[in-house]
Symmetry: C3
Subunit: 257 residues, 3 copies
């Protein structure tokens, strides 16, 4: 049974999500629907891209990911379906897909061209049917004319030299933990045999932990999380609130000679 995931900024107090699901099941009642989240902050492409990037590879190859975050996009944005890393993505090409992976799409098409639908609700009226068809084995190329490339947005990058890594917070999760864009491999390469100090919001930490519960209650800790990204937390506390740190707050690691 093929899987269609849903990721939107629609919340759950309206009819929107159920309308999308009804349309998918009308095309193929045997599909498995999995909600990734409907609580992406309104029109927040960075939040949506972070969540999708963090989880899409956990699903089996061939899974179809329907995205309705900032689903109206800008006036010139196109409705697309794209195959990347053997997964399918369906939604508005507003830049979100370009942030999900750095791999080039295997193939992309423009939707709503073969038979055009005027709509203010593309998730239901265009994306749902396209996603259901892809999950049912219909070929991507039959859904619309080919598209040479998707919109690319520049994500903020980590700067790394021999003496330091400078990154920033890319997500405050629901418990207040601060996820940065500093990857484990860069840290491991540069820290070999050296002392280091991790700096953020006036704190200086000299040790990366390996488990959340190695901290004492109320202690600030840093570790590489299940995404292999540096994460800052306060054991059984809200790190964002207690440290005054938010999306984009700087975090750096200095290596001693």
């Amino acid at each position: 049974m093929a899987i269609v995931t849903l990721l939107t900024d629609s919340g759950e107090s309206d009819h929107y999500i159920a309308a999308i699901k009804a349309r998918i099941l009308s095309v193929n009642p045997g599909l498995t629907l999995i909600d990734i989240s409907h609580h992406i902050a309104s029109c927040d492409i960075a939040h949506g891209a972070f969540v999708l990037r963090s989880v899409f590879r956990d699903f089996p190859k061939g899974t179809v990911h329907l995205v309705g975050v900032d689903a109206m996009g800008n006036r010139s944005d196109l409705m697309v379906a794209s195959q990347v890393e053997d997964h399918f993505f369906v939604g508005m090409d507003n830049g979100l897909f370009g942030l999900v992976t750095e791999k080039a799409p295997q193939s992309s098409v423009e939707l709503n061209k073969i038979s055009t639908i005027a709509t203010t609700f593309p998730e239901r009226d265009v994306f749902a049917a396209a996603a259901a068809k892809l999950a049912s084995g219909v070929s991507l190329t039959s859904l619309g004319p080919p598209l040479l490339q998707l919109k690319r947005m520049t994500d903020r990058y980590v700067k790394a030299t021999k003496r330091m890594i400078a990154g920033h917070v890319i997500r405050v999760d629901a418990t207040g933990n601060l996820i940065t864009n500093i990857p484990r491999d860069a840290f491991e390469t540069l820290s070999k045999g050296k002392n280091y100090v991790i700096q953020f919001s006036g704190e200086k930490i000299r040790k990366v932990m390996t488990a959340y519960n190695h901290a004492e209650q109320g202690d600030c800790f840093v570790l590489f999380n299940s995404l292999n990204l540096l994460e800052i937390g306060i054991y059984r506390g809200n790190a964002s609130a207690l440290l005054g740190m938010h999306y984009d707050s700087p975090v750096s690691i200095l290596f001693e000679e």
Copy 2:
């Protein structure tokens, strides 16, 4: 695989929703369960009816809709199952079903009569089994004695003359957009060849847009939405907060001679 949808005001931090689902799957583990919403405002029949009315026809005919909004109702309210427009509705006859469609039921029965269950949790103890049976092909008439009519509540209507349409906001959605009860067809009939002005909260708008993204960021816009109802929004802003408009706020359209 038949579908049972769920619509409640129970929230998602308690055991209530899972208890209803467990009971449905105990009757027939092969049913597909789709949450419409569990975030209907507590006992808000108008909110529940709006959401159900906006989406039930997107589901395949024969779908069963279990409703637990104000599920205890008033003392004289009956537990019912009803077939309307080839869909099934199961819940307390507290007036909500009468607001979902203006079509007369094809058939209705009173539940909890053939074998009576005293319960403070009818969604789990009565509605779940009835919904599961209907979705499994059991006939409506076998579930209880026939009921001649459901409770009717008067919904607020739009007033339309040659010179104006006067309506009001019937739903503020999660993003703050204001959905009115002014239907597209009334507007199109009356506006032919005429200039018009749409008035609300001190604003005067002289153009209906056709897409959300035709507005500029921060602009107020009106359009006919995917329900064919006039909707007021602020592009990438919260119209309810910024315009000070809420459920029941008046909106009118004046047509010039």
Copy 3:
């Protein structure tokens, strides 16, 4: 089709829940996934245990319950799978399971021993696969070495004498109703032929109702709810806010001679 339920304190705005589900479906795509709640208060074992205790028996025997509440636990806590009352429970043995039922486990094993995984996300990396295997018919004993007992926490008990029952609030539900730990059977045994008065927050109530809607709007009522526990509410109002009562607030019943 076997059922796996999920109960976590992860919220729904991150990738965590979808990552767990993806891993379960990767082991067995035919499993039915049912969310109990992802809105347990962060690390609140009492809240999680209350919800799970209130609903697990509504599911068919053999159902697997994956729990990710305070999922990192304390440093010495073990990852476990346990069979109790013919249901399976998978998660961190942080005391929650010991609060779900007073029945002794039929069998328990320690996970993450046969092949060890170092992880900061045990719900995805250890519990998901264990739950999926159990739901697919793999034997509990093949998942790890036997464990003689689970952690036990002492729950607060009700005190009952011939003259009074003294209990307290164990859950404020999403509508503000106050669920106590006073069971129906103790009340029925002690109240036979006697007048009684139920006291809490300055209120004195002399009658237990049998249905929520027997109260008038704004009235305070008490009844035995669908869990057979004494529940205090205000008809169409928020009892917690209006009575100033919270988790652990005392409630007592005095019986007159």
